[in-house]
């Protein structure tokens, strides 16, 4: 057992009758990381999380949480995780404080400790003023916070949140993200989402899942860098198109170029650099040399959106 790994998943496969939800994925999550499990609906995120939280067994492969096997030592694992399932199910007839206390007791806290912890998490999640309200009458945002508070109440080492911001308004989403970020110091967090900016904003590392497989796993920055090779430089320069074409064809480091007329005498040049080249300084000095007027010089960054689409697309075609 390694001390640093919080989650170790090896060759995890889950088959339901007739289809494979998770197809032999492996990944590790270190202690203290916030990892985003990203993928379209039906990619196998929830299934993976359900297996991690000991709700159902894997068809094959091993999953260890904090060094304990989720199947054979499920009690130990369940003591160490705080899990909030998709859609955040709660008992609507209970009061907030009563519910959290009930959950704390179920998770093995004694009477005094559960009282302390419930007070703490209610403050942490901004629930103090609704403590006596009935859960069924709370707004969606508050209910989501109750779910989060429940996941935190026993100070778990690992927090698993399945789509924690689904169905919230932008304000509430921001509040929930802030809360998740604040957990990073003490806990390891695994969140699933199909919304990119969310993962981009909150996670140290992202696992992109599609069709039961992990297609890419890296930090948001690295994933972007990975794709940067294919990014384009856009330059708008006021110069005759022929001259521009000639200059570009002579410039080293340009793999492809395209010149198209823009407004007035400006030409829009889309340049694809060879790997590793940054063309921008060269273009600037070129324009200076010739005395051309340049009004735009940008590198189009691939957003994670593109990466996401790009990574998930080939597999889709294969499947089709």
């Amino acid at each position: 057992m390694s001390d640093t790994a919080m989650i170790e998943v090896t060759n995890l496969t889950k088959r339901y009758a007739g289809h494979t939800a998770v197809a032999g994925i492996s990944f590790t999550v270190a202690r203290g990381e916030i990892v985003g499990l990203l993928g379209p609906n039906g990619a196998g995120k929830s299934t993976t999380m359900r297996i991690l939280s000991c709700f159902m067994p894997a068809t094959s492969g091993t999953v260890r949480v904090a060094g304990f096997d989720v199947f054979h030592q499920s009690d130990e694992v369940r003591r160490r995780i705080g899990y909030m399932p998709e859609n955040n199910p709660l008992y609507p007839e209970m009061r907030v404080r009563e519910y959290l206390k009930f959950r704390a007791r179920l998770k093995g806290l004694n009477w005094r400790r559960s009282r302390e912890r419930v007070t703490t998490v209610m403050e942490q999640c901004g629930l103090t003023e609704v403590g006596r309200r009935i859960i069924g009458q709370l707004s969606k945002g508050y209910r989501q916070r109750v779910g989060l508070a429940d996941a935190l109440v026993h100070e778990p080492e690992l927090i698993i949140l399945d789509e924690p911001t689904i169905g919230l308004d932008p304000h509430q989403i921001r509040a929930v993200r802030q809360l998740i970020k604040s957990l990073a110091q003490k806990h390891t967090v695994l969140i699933s989402t199909h919304i990119l900016p969310e993962a981009e904003m909150t996670c140290n590392r992202m696992l992109i899942m599609f069709d039961g497989k992990i297609l890419a796993a890296d930090t948001p920055d690295n994933l972007q860098r990975l794709m940067a090779g294919g990014s384009q430089i856009i330059a708008e320069i006021a110069a005759p198109a022929d001259e521009l074409r000639e200059v570009w064809s002579q410039m080293p480091g340009i793999e492809q170029f395209d010149v198209s007329p823009s407004e007035g005498e400006f030409q829009r040049c889309a340049l694809t650099p060879r790997d590793g080249y940054d063309l921008r300084p060269a273009i600037f000095s070129l324009a200076q040399e010739h005395g051309w007027i340049m009004r735009e010089l940008t590198r189009s960054r691939h957003s994670l959106e593109d990466i996401y689409v790009q990574v998930t697309k080939p597999a889709e075609e294969e499947e089709g």
Binding site: P85, L90, M94, L106
Partner: protein, 250 residues
């Protein structure tokens, strides 16, 4: 054990803090009252050597209550949790399947016992207005209640089992109603077939819920009947436990 009490308290709160719980209690109280009225009119017209307790259950209303109220009590237990998804949050805490099944069954049983309390009032009314001191004694009342309790255990465990099978409360209620009615009808069958030496009718006679209730209401506690009810209750609870565990095999 601490977890069992926590679970039991929440289940009981779900019964007693909901309108459904009180609707059931009100309906059952009404039916008990109705059967009491029927009983009194009958007794008024012609005297009977039967103990009052026995006559009580002889009215079809008694069985109506058992057959209708138990599915209504138990249908929610597992089906609602599965439907709303709270089953997932519940089972991912360090609770054992056994604790969950035991707490749910126990809560239904407690509610069932409370539900029958109004009948006690009826018996006291009879006692108050009768001049025969022997009409009601602790033995017959105790036997009667033991019978009610054991029948309840059996039908509630049936209900638990039905509820664990499905996500729909309606389906759970129907399954447990059908199971309950068939068990009840087997009891009728047992009565219809004369007890012969053949093993079939011997076996059937154990299912004679009617006959057994007779004995209980007379204050006669037959060990065979007790064993029958208790073992069948455990059997259905065991099945429930298996169904709850089964998500780990799939």
């Amino acid at each position: 054990m601490r977890i069992f009490w926590t679970l039991l308290r929440r289940e009981l709160a779900a019964f007693f803090c909901s309108i459904t719980g009180y609707v059931i209690i009100a309906a059952v109280t009404l039916l008990i009252g109705l059967s009491f009225v029927v009983l009194m009119t009958n007794l008024g017209s012609d005297p009977s050597p039967m103990p009052v307790t026995e006559m009580f259950y002889r009215t079809t209303i008694f069985w109506l209550i058992v057959l209708l109220a138990t599915p209504a009590l138990t249908m929610r237990l597992f089906a609602l949790e599965k439907f709303s998804g709270t089953f997932e949050t519940l089972m991912t805490t360090p609770v054992s399947d056994l604790q969950v099944v035991a707490a749910k069954f126990a809560s239904a049983l407690v509610f069932y016992i409370v539900m029958w309390l109004p009948m006690l009032a009826c018996l006291f009314i009879v006692r108050h207005f009768t001049n025969q001191p022997g009409t009601l004694d602790a033995g017959t009342i105790g036997g009667m209640y033991l019978g009610v309790f054991l029948v309840g255990c059996l039908f509630l465990s049936l209900g638990c089992f039905a509820s664990s099978l499905t996500r729909s409360q309606m389906a759970a209620a129907m399954i447990s109603f059908v199971l309950g009615v068939s068990l009840f009808l087997v009891g009728f069958l047992a009565e219809a077939i004369p007890v012969a030496a053949q093993w079939q009718s011997q076996v059937l006679s154990y299912f004679g819920l009617f006959e057994q209730m007779h004995n209980f209401a007379r204050g006669m506690v037959d060990t065979r009947a007790v064993v029958f009810y208790v073992s069948l209750t455990f059997f259905f609870l065991f099945l429930t436990l298996r169904v709850v565990e089964s998500r780990r095999w799939k």
